[in-house]
């Protein structure tokens, strides 16, 4: 169906269903319960990040998972996408359509240029070239060097680019929304459904992002299964041999690079559409590193793995970092005092300001015990429950662990 084989189609349906019901699935606990206060992740801002970073890493996986080329500067495309989108808000209006289109186009242009140059090298030399380009773009944006050269504002430096009341916004008419909208449908409005102690928020912006992620996911399945994807995998397994057969691999590589750059640009545009401010730190090397880590953590070269990796990292960043000692004391309030204090002392280093420690330990644990990323955990669990599938949904995308 839809040009997918039945296994892929089933996977696709699962992803669609997860996206549609995310506001419910991610809010498993009643709002007022202490578990709900700590662990519920079904609020719009975080769900948006789940799908947007999922989309970003899906795109990254087309490059890294299929060709094995490790780009260490992918966040730069995310950044230019965001800047392009905010400029559209500043110049035209808050309608997200031109913003998203331009963000994809601009990121595409940047990736053509950078890809053309960086793809002249392979391996770590390629990684460092992409890193160098991204770091240059970061510095330029952070200190607004382009703006300084021309005496104007281009990226607005460290403060970040945002929309001011005195911006031109030539398409704004009286009464048009003053927040990002899709032809009047405001991104930040939502419908809240209260059932008992539960509260589920269905927000326009989240669903728009989710639609883009589903489209991006669909496209990535098609690419993985296409002759083009086959070619990319062939390049990964032995590029020299491909060249000997008289095939010019460069156009294929460049196409993969640009596609993945455009995914990043789209993700950047969506980030800006959800929250119309963008700063240079979105392009810093740690942001690029985070993309790489998300992909490896989830399982490189698998279809769903990257989305999973993005979800886990964003969850840790937003949920674990907010747990503080007084919340811990609440959890363990039922225990005798000495035990309560002991538990709080034991857990304290891993939450709140210590969430980086949890992150680092998680990376190490996953790499050591699950070389295939979190997807492998899924497989192991599936095997454990005796549902031995002939070939796993997720794993089917990859023939081997990616390098």
């Amino acid at each position: 169906m839809l040009g997918l084989n039945s296994r892929d189609f089933r996977l696709f349906l699962i992803v669609c269903a997860l996206c549609v019901f995310a506001p419910i699935l991610l809010n498993p606990f009643p709002v007022a319960s202490s578990l709900g206060e700590s662990f519920n992740a079904g609020y719009p801002a975080l769900m948006q990040r789940f799908v947007i970073f999922g989309l970003l890493v899906i795109g990254f996986n087309i490059l890294f998972g299929l060709t094995g080329y490790l780009s260490f500067g992918h966040a730069a495309f995310l950044g230019v996408g965001s800047f392009a989108a905010v400029w559209m808000f500043k110049l035209l209006s808050y309608n997200v359509v031109p913003a998203i289109i331009l963000s994809v186009v601009v990121a595409g242009l940047f990736s053509v240029v950078i890809g053309y140059i960086a793809l002249r090298r392979s391996g770590i030399y390629f990684s460092i070239l992409t890193l160098a380009f991204a770091q240059m773009m970061y510095s330029i944006a952070f200190s607004d060097l382009v703006g300084k050269l021309f005496g104007t504002i281009v990226t607005n430096g460290e403060t970040g680019l945002q929309v001011y009341n005195d911006d031109p916004q030539i398409l704004m008419s009286e009464g048009s929304p003053t927040v990002p909208h899709l032809f009047g449908l405001e991104m930040n409005s939502a419908f809240t459904w209260k059932v008992g102690g539960w509260e589920f928020v269905f927000q326009n912006g989240y669903y728009l992002s989710a639609i883009f992620m589903i489209l991006g996911f669909y496209l990535s399945i098609r690419i993985f299964r296409s002759p083009f994807g086959m070619m990319l995998r062939a390049i990964k397994s032995n590029q020299t041999r491909m060249s000997y057969t008289g095939l010019d691999t460069k156009p294929y590589m460049l196409a993969a690079f640009v596609i993945s750059g455009m995914y990043a640009g789209l993700a950047g545009g969506l980030l800006a559409a959800m929250d119309p401010l963008t700063g240079a730190e979105r392009m810093f090397w740690t942001a690029s590193g985070e993309i790489v880590v998300m992909a490896i953590l989830g399982g490189v070269g698998t279809l769903v793995g990257p989305v999973l990796g993005a979800g886990v990292i964003k969850y840790l960043e937003n949920i674990v970092s907010k747990i503080n000692d007084s919340i811990l004391h609440n959890w363990f309030a039922f225990m005798p005092d000495w035990l309560e204090n002991l538990m709080v002392t034991v857990i304290h280093p891993f939450i709140g300001k210590g969430w980086h420690l949890t992150l680092g330990l998680l990376f190490m644990a996953v790499v050591i015990f699950l070389p295939g990323g979190l997807m492998q955990l899924g497989e192991k669990i599936a095997t454990l429950f005796g549902r031995k599938k002939k070939s796993d949904d997720a794993k089917s995308g990859a023939t081997e662990p990616a390098e």
């Binding site: 094995g68 490790l70 140059i117 002249r120 090298r121 392979s122 391996g123 770590i124 030399y125 460092i128 070239l129 890193l131 160098a132 380009f133 770091q135 240059m136 510095s139 330029i140 200190s143 060097l145 300084k148 050269l149 590029q239 090397w285 740690t286 590193g289 790489v292 880590v293 490896i296 953590l297 490189v300 280093p349 210590g354 980086h356 420690l357 992150l359 680092g360 330990l361 998680l362 990376f363 190490m364 996953v366 790499v367 050591i368 070389p371 662990p401 990616a402 390098e403």
Partner: protein
Amino acid sequence: MDALILQLLNGMDKGAAYALIALGLTLIFGTLGVVNFAHGALFMIGAFCAVTMQRILSLSSTVIDETQKDFLGNPLKIEVPYVQSWFGDVAGAAIQDWSVPLSILLVIPVMLFVGWAMERGLIKHFYKRPHADQILVTFGLAIVIGEIIKAFYGANPIQTPSPAALTGSVDLGVGLGFEANTIIYSVWRIVYFFFAAFIIAAVFAFLQFTTFGMVVRAGMADRETVGMLGIDIDKRFTVMFGIAACVAGLAGMMYAPILSPHYNLGMDFLVLSFVVVVVGGMGSLPGAVLAGFVLGIVQSLSSMNEVKAIIPGIDQIIIYLVAIIILLTRPRGLMGRKGVMEE
């Protein structure tokens, strides 16, 4: 002219630091084939060894002085360092003053141990794994090390002064025929430069002139053959990892007076050290040293006001610009070998 010479001195000094870090990274990569993202963390551990030494030397006994009050109006506690009560005020203070150079006593055992523990406990299992896995696991380790340091020392940078005799600056220009007070340069940075040069020379001499070094070099060139010759190359590689960790730690220790150590120091140097290594050519020790100095000098020259007046902010991007140009003109960096890390 004097400005140029000063920037060249800065470049040599900066380059020495870059070269030293890149050297350790290349040792690990060249011998073990492991991409070690925790190398910056090793540098940081070295710097914190200096902090620890300073703390150890200022361990104090507390005397309560009833005549003075602290900020809450309670009697003031006066702390007398043990070294001062043991060695007398003057000698004790002198020992405290020289805490950074003295911490070499701490750095070498600590770094050898950390290197050994890292290699045996973790890295060993990753020789056969893809580079992506190596990156993730060492990156995770770097975060964990940073967090542990933060738990003990806080997030604030910690002042670790160089000995009083080596602070301040010295006039280098007079001997060269310049006017007095035009070419004055930091004493500690000159010390750092010679220290780095010494370590680099020692590492090269070790690899070049000892049997151990010869085996390791052979192992770098062709590990399997050396293994087949019946040489326990694994053990030697563990030692090399320890040595590389030591080099990083010593670089960090001596850098502590220049850059007050803080828990994120490792991450700050991580990207830069990789750029240096790759520009030098993966797996090439002379390349790493050369690239360190080239990038250090280029960066210093680009920070000159005359240059910045023409292109604002060039000093922020110059390293990456130069890296791109070098990698495009020389496919494997300055001195890289074919086929290393190109897949």
